[in-house]
Symmetry: C3
Subunit: 337 residues, 3 copies
């Protein structure tokens, strides 16, 4: 299939670039990866990447914007954009961008994100505004923490006070540590059809915390292991069908609330990171307003996307499908920022 | 593909309805979901569902039976049938039903189920008829417990005696808690070809028990967490190939024993829920005589069903394939009850 | 598709035989399984197996070699070959064999394997040459241990000394127990294109160790459970995209080092079994020079093989693709031994 009207799909070489560009190629687009020298070898391995634009550092991104615009590239953001470009450069990007940049402020500020979720009536864990209020186990998260760094767990007020002394971050949120299993729900909201899809679900694979269960408690004693939550991978999940109704509605309320809070609201892929308790309630601990790495499990399709499409549709491919549709219906302005 | 001779496939809106109806549609059937008002929105999201029959409560099911019969619907039971309709109403259903209703009594009674498995020489955990016999950690299961509710774990006789006081259920089974990993094996027995297939395997995702391993033992102390086994999802597994021979044989013996115990025996999808010990022995802790929720992982195919079919075959689709075959060979009476 | 020039693909009935033979059939080969009587029933269940050659014991393998050669069979080794045939018989096999037998000595000897990995600058856990040096938790592995038997964990020197008394094996390696999560990376190196692919990634499912996390620490007390690492299955994983560059490079260095250490070096499927620490470093605890059982998860395709091929490619099928290519380009001598 020819590239739809000469548009190309581009992204930064990291996070879910392989999925995004494979999906784009499957939908007939030419593909571009912007890569730093240490990653060029990785992206050269794959035939579906048509072009590698090398830059010395991601901070040099503005220097190639003209070239990207000249090539009719559409940028697909992922979790490394804010991390590598910074919020400001990200916002100022001139290359057509899939998604609404206005969500960035609301997402990046932990308190505003909480406000958004509360407005959407999405349940969130209790927050302790200061240490003296702590009456349950807590998870302490630095503002802007990503990939599982900048977290710590404290059993109670006393342990919080002890651990906060060696915590490097000044701005943080103290949340109740909700005991339950986690599920990361991958949504896609189409501004063209106004429909929300659940495309897949995953669970994170975190080191060292996901290895602790394999050490018997009597062996843990004396090892002095502190849990860390560094995400190094993902494994697939499905949810009980009776929980899906709730999952869809939480997602829809998140979209509706966004439309009230910021012009245009949230569209494209997003993720609610939930804890599910023994009473089968969801508590959302984080909102990600773009493709998340857990979708990489489903490059060859997912049990949920199979409910909508008779082909293997990952989130990356779903993005390309939306862009192709917008091009064909001359509605690119509805999906780009 | 046209709907085979006007038959439609129907099920209750819950559990694995999406999988069942997607599979039916892929095999050319028209599809019907019977849904309560709170679930209508969920099932409206999917194009492969041709018709939603809304009823105020599942207890109102008998009122739409005539309509289902008129439309030549074939009902596919799943785990929510007994839970929502009750054993009695389930048995009295007049709509053509995929499966043998005679298995219901044997399955729903924990002692009869145990007798069935023992007759099949399928290893089951030791049972303690009364508390004084307890000489090992035990799992106590209320009769009719489903979805992980109505269970508790006790380390020894003393802990059993303490915990039984606050247990709400009067009828329960005390079984040895076999230490090992779990595997839920999804079988399909075809009464047309007399062949047994293993279609997929999963592991349950239970809250809060599957989150405990992520809390270091020194942090667990003082939190006073009691494990609960509420199933909220599933994750995929494959077994060592050398264990498959045994898995197939256990499944076959379960079918053969059923044919001795009840006219017609067991057919269609069923599941053996096994614990595998370090000596690689299976202990079966539960038999489910229908499609189980773990099969929802494999809507887009499974590594095991790929060994039989050159298309993506879920258990839901496999059921539709069997019905289609029976229609074409005029053998519907062999598979319906 | 006709069998390519009359060649057939054969393997021993165990481990990943189903995957290998299904993949071979999908690429147009006739297939043969060599099975012991207890496994014949299992392999009869599958249509893609054209021929079952029954032998009383795997030790009788030499007796059917002539027949296999007459039929133009190409043998695909897997993890059960060394276990069942022994290193010596394995080496002396006269049937054309996919892979380089010269890797067997380097792989089977724990010290030589370590030397190989060190030459490849692949990080390995610290080794303690004798007990007095132990200053960290250790994993003790018997030479030739397979499938998770012959391992034990010790928290410190004292516990090592206590446990070694009842350890049945005389030759063993004492390695630091690296605390982190595991990932088994499935590679394929093509001697025809000189390219390395990552086809899939898994995590092992081990009994009883993967059930321990589900028992709260206060319940573990008094049960006296010792962890065992008997592999009974596998579950799927993907890695963070930023870790893939490193994963590819470790794999390539392993191939390059092999070419220096042994004529021809390593080709075909192999696996690096890694622990990933909270600093996102890999430590490789084992190298397997052939198809591993974790690839059985991906008989119907994997998120990684989908990046190279627009069809469902398992490691078993990838092997058949390589053989077909070698036949067509008259380069069978490059891939057989």
């Amino acid at each position: 299939m020819a590239a739809p009207k000469g548009y190309k799909i581009a992204t930064l070489g990291s996070h879910s670039a392989l999925q995004i560009l494979k999906g784009a190629k499957d939908e007939g687009f030419k593909t571009i990866v912007i890569a730093t020298p240490d990653r060029v070898a990785l992206y050269k391995r794959f035939n579906f990447i048509d072009q590698i634009l090398q830059i010395p550092n991601f901070a040099d991104f503005p220097k190639i914007e003209k070239e990207l615009i000249r090539q009719k590239a559409i940028m697909i953001p992922h979790g490394s954009f804010v991390a590598y470009l910074g919020l400001d450069q990200h916002r100022k990007m001139k290359v057509p961008y899939f998604g609404n940049k206005k969500v960035l402020d609301w997402e990046s500020n932990r308190l505003k994100q909480r406000q958004w979720l509360e407005k959407a009536h999405v349940p969130v864990p209790r927050r302790f505004k200061n240490a003296s209020e702590i009456d349950a186990p807590v998870l302490v998260k630095a503002y802007g923490a990503a990939g599982g760094h900048g977290y710590f767990f404290a059993k109670n007020k006393k342990e919080f006070r002890q651990k906060i002394k060696s915590f490097k971050h000044k701005n943080y949120l103290i949340q109740e540590y909700v005991i339950g299993v986690s599920a990361y729900i991958h949504y896609f909201y189409s501004p063209l059809t106004k429909k929300l899809e659940i495309l897949s679900i995953d669970r994170r694979y975190e080191t060292n915390v996901d290895s602790l269960g394999r050490i018997p408690s009597h062996n843990q004693r004396g090892l002095g292991i502190e849990p860390s939550f560094v995400v190094v991978g993902n494994s697939p999940l499905v949810l009980r069908e009776s929980l899906l109704a709730n999952a869809f509605e939480m997602g829809e309320r998140t979209v509706v609330a966004s439309q009230k809070l910021m012009p245009g609201g949230l569209w494209g892929p997003f993720c609610l990171e939930a804890i599910i308790t023994p009473t089968q309630e969801f508590f959302v601990i984080e909102l990600s307003c773009r493709i998340v790495a857990g979708t990489n499990l489903f490059i060859d399709g997912s049990p949920y996307s199979a409910l909508y499409y008779n082909k293997d549709v990952s989130t990356g491919r779903r993005i390309a499908m939306e862009i192709k549709k917008a091009i064909n219906f001359k509605k690119l302005d509805k999906i780009l920022d």
